[in-house]
Symmetry: C2
Subunit: 322 residues, 2 copies
């Protein structure tokens, strides 16, 4: 095995920043890609003010938090995933454990929950008062008036590359806010929400899962990197090709955003929305948040400035006015 | 739209033959790909002697039948899927209905069931006495002795091409026999169990879902056809490449079998097992069953002879000796 001096971690959204910083420390000290990816995701899951992942995640239309998560080891191609799981503190830990199973490695609903409790995973009521307030507000503004309630759907997806050139990807989300009970998006779905191949690279997606699954976007990005594209080329071309196909053939395209990294630690990001943020760290880049904007078929990337970062923290902790 | 004189239907396993014959009639009389694919799958779901799909499907380790199904329209890329759903007569009809939804188009467990009942889909106890006998026998032979119970996992996957060059794919399965409650395989997972793009072709898989998902096999086959491979080349190269990767990186490979068709009605099949069967019909080929055998990195295809067909019927209707 060729030892590389490279390591890297990239993740969707600003909310991953603290986790990315912790993963970066671990990778710098020769930690493995698997532990680092899972550590980063658990940080996001545990933080109550991130309202689309784990504890504090937004509930479904009945006010119940249902979570999806997945883990993929890019070296063995092992995958573990859970969907529509309730009352579990860290869905990513269950997904990681399932990736070690030969059979039954993607589990959903009550069955997944029963397995997780039987294997000692922590029980936790994942609905915070704050998330409940968000729910009541949204319900009053939409469902109660017969309007479509669907809006936010911010998945955390973390890609790690360790110093042995092993790559992993991990995802976690509470899914589409106000979703129907039992709805599953792209996050636990191999090739759509995530894909990792240590011989090439990895990709992970966030946005409207229903549309991301129509193009197996993460698998497609890894394939394009495998055929010689840079991560940025692969991300941009795959996202805008899928968007064009969806508009031409399905009549519309939901939000599509991705990050990816190859096994040299080069990374890319692409989005169809304004101000999709991502968090990244490499030996050459201290943990930082970047903002992206689309311009035609390209995604422009700039560092988030202090004003944006301050406004973000203020926004996520602001009182919810019901 | 260019009218083509071509139509075609191909499906995994002998069990699809009756459904393929009905779909062929429909396609020959200018029926659409969507209706034909769903018709073929409902035939398999309804037939009590096919023990891995729909009514009469084999139960999970607790003796409960849990079903997965998916539908994809290769023209719009719309997808609908259900997983881990109980007591629904025709999961494929629910999947097809969900493919028309903008949001919440992949649903699992109780939530999926509640939605299906609310939308008028037929309630049915899917466990037959015969499947229950199979379960008791298997349980006694394996679980009760502390042995691994996992064996059969035969998904029906049907690809249709209509005279307007529209393609669809539909899958349905009771999943891995003796699976844990809540286990989901590749069949409802976009890109793994199925993928269809009317501009290129479609593919569908059967075998060990846990391994098929590691390679997004159906999406990969469609991609290869899109890059110029014949269906047979695409199927063989993708299946044996994935098998090699799994053995080298994961240490072993489960059963992997696929069928595919391009939008000219040319088809292919590949397998890692002996006697994987498929059913096919085109204007040039009356509905027939073929058997496949691997030879190195190739899959040999031969018509099933009458002796094989007779033995099949005898086997599936034979008394279950508990």
């Amino acid at each position: 095995m060729t030892l590389s001096t490279n390591w890297g971690v990239i993740a969707t959204w600003r909310m991953a920043w603290e986790g990315v910083a912790e993963a970066a420390n671990m990778l710098q000290e020769s930690g493995d890609a698997s532990s680092a990816a899972v550590l980063a995701v658990t940080c996001v899951e545990d933080y109550p003010y991130y309202k689309s992942v784990g504890y504090g995640g937004l509930p479904n239309e009945q006010g119940v938090v249902e979570l999806d998560a997945a883990f993929m080891d890019g070296s063995t191609l092992a995958i573990g995933a859970v969907a529509s799981i309730r009352d579990i503190a860290n869905p990513i830990l269950v997904a990681q454990a399932l990736s070690r199973e030969r059979f039954n490695s993607f589990m959903v609903g009550e069955g997944a929950q029963t397995w997780a409790f039987a294997h000692g995973f922590e029980h936790k009521n994942m609905l915070t008062d704050r998330a409940h307030q968000h729910y009541l507000k949204r319900k009053r503004e939409t469902l109660d008036r017969g309007l479509s309630p669907y809006t936010g759907h911010d998945t955390v997806g973390v890609i790690t590359l360790d110093q042995n050139q092993q790559m992993c990807v991990a995802t976690s989300t509470s899914g589409l806010f106000m979703k129907r009970p039992g709805r599953v998006g792209d996050s636990p779905v191999s090739g759509s929400g995530f894909y990792a191949d240590s011989q090439i690279g990895a990709a992970t997606a966030t946005g409207l899962g229903e549309d991301l699954m129509k193009g197996c976007i993460s698998y497609e990005i890894v394939s394009r990197m495998g055929r010689g594209m840079s991560p940025q080329q692969a991300a941009e071309s795959a996202v805008y090709d899928l968007e064009s196909q969806l508009i031409a053939r399905f009549g519309r395209a939901g939000d599509l955003s991705v990050v990816c990294m190859n096994n040299h630690g080069e990374y890319g990001a692409a989005t169809t929305i304004d101000n999709f943020s991502f968090s990244v760290a490499t030996p050459a880049q201290a943990p930082a948040v970047f903002l992206t904007t689309r311009e035609g078929k390209h995604t422009l990337i700039r560092p988030a400035d202090q004003a944006w970062l301050d406004a973000y923290l203020e926004r996520i902790t602001a009182e919810v006015i019901v």
